[in-house]
């Protein structure tokens, strides 16, 4: 069974060659990749005045995600993702969504401890 991967993105329903959104909690949108299946999600947390990271973690939990890729994870997001035992990986700013997914596949991305 394929892993379900969530990655932060800039343009919902856009191309995979778009840049990854370097933010997690306040990402514009999320893309869930499972094998060949792509599912786009709005990030409703992004305009929360506080706790955007916490709500984004909730989204990850509710969608049964196995791994998350983003540019950076704030302390609440990091703590929350650790709490729900979901591995989260940091990809460099400027990378495209496609490149980030490929990097994860090749094992080139570092998981946050």
């Amino acid at each position: 069974m394929s892993k379900r991967i969530l990655i932060s993105a800039m343009e919902k329903e856009g191309s995979l060659d778009q840049p990854m959104d370097p933010r997690f909690g306040r990402a514009h949108c999320f893309l869930i990749v499972e094998g060949d299946t792509l599912t786009w999600l709005d990030n409703n947390a992004r305009s929360a005045s506080h706790g955007a990271g916490v709500e984004a973690v909730s989204t990850v939990g509710k969608n049964k995600i196995d791994a998350v890729i983003s540019g950076e994870f704030g302390p609440k997001a990091h703590g929350g993702l650790k709490g729900i035992s979901v591995a989260h990986y940091v990809a460099p700013e400027g990378i495209t969504v496609r490149e980030a997914l490929d990097s994860l596949e090749r094992g080139d991305l570092k998981a946050m401890e």
């Binding site: 506080h50 729900i84 035992s85």
Partner: protein, 282 residues
């Protein structure tokens, strides 16, 4: 009688006027107390120089599980009840983010298994003392790194103080912390300055006061600097009584910078505080 000095823009002179008024009232034999509700940066005591007692720690309630595990993500009732993203269900327990918690207790009530209780979390301190000259002071100071100071502002302004007149030095701005200082007052005095920022923020402060049913009075500090008439025009148009217009005084500014109670040496400032006293009917 509770009088709050507020402002929109910070640095306009709330502490100058509130400490000066307290001093002047005491000097004329009145029973007056000073409350420093600017809990993120309380500075009134630099001027009043009260010897403060030990810090009384101020706490707010936050949720905690009474059991090792709970239904966690299978349940999520606490998260659904929380408006502040402060509680996150995990596979078999919850993670609390106390700095986001607004102490409303909704999660505790919502938990269908009754395994959440409220426990105290330290937010800051309250200090008490009596100034040189005999003015009781109450100072609130929030702990460094805390995101929410409003509960402590509420705590200090609600303190029981034995005085006829209580002067509250509010936090600047119009956020929840400033509102907490203003809402329980009998009188609100807005301190402003004749600059575009001053006027912009004064408008917001006036709106805030009126939202709580208060009709604020206005004091203009550094009144001879920078204005093009728009401040006075605004006050007239909004029927806001102007109690004092204090011109800039370099000597006064210097005394203030050294932590001196400038009102003791400045005739103009003394006249200003007396005008406020008269307006208050004291």
């Amino acid at each position: 009688m509770k009088i709050t000095f507020a402002s929109g823009k910070g640095g306009t002179g709330k502490t100058l006027f509130s400490t000066s008024l307290a001093w002047r009232l005491r000097a004329t034999g009145r029973s007056v107390a000073y409350v420093d509700a600017d809990v993120e940066a309380p500075n009134g005591n630099l001027f009043l120089k009260a010897e403060l007692g030990e810090a009384e720690r101020f706490t707010v309630p936050v949720p905690k599980l009474t059991t090792e595990t709970c239904a966690g993500t299978e349940c999520s009732a606490c998260q659904d009840a929380c408006a502040f993203h402060a509680i996150l269900p995990l596979p078999s327990s919850v993670m609390v983010f106390p700095e986001l918690c607004h102490s409303c207790g909704a999660c505790v009530t919502a938990c269908p298994y009754d395994v959440l209780v409220e426990v105290p979390r330290e937010l800051g301190s309250i200090f008490r003392g009596v100034s040189e000259g005999g003015i009781p002071v109450v100072i609130g100071e929030v702990d460094v790194g805390e995101a929410r100071s409003t509960p402590l502002v509420e705590g200090v302004v609600e303190e029981e103080i034995d005085a006829d007149v209580i002067i509250v030095d509010s936090p600047p701005g119009t956020s929840c912390a400033a509102m907490a200082a203003v809402r329980q007052s009998d009188h609100v005095i807005l301190v402003t300055e004749p600059t575009p920022f001053g006027l912009h923020d004064l408008r917001l402060a006036v709106e805030m006061c009126r939202a709580f049913g208060k009709s604020p009075w206005v004091v203009i500090n550094r009144s001879d600097l920078g204005d093009d008439g728009s401040l006075e025009a605004y006050l007239e148009q909004e029927h806001l009584p102007l109690l004092v217009a204090l011109p800039f005084d370099r000597e006064l500014a210097g005394a203030y910078a050294y932590g001196h109670l400038a009102v003791r040496g400045s005739v103009k400032l003394r006249r200003g505080t007396d005008a406020i006293i008269e307006a208050l009917g004291l």
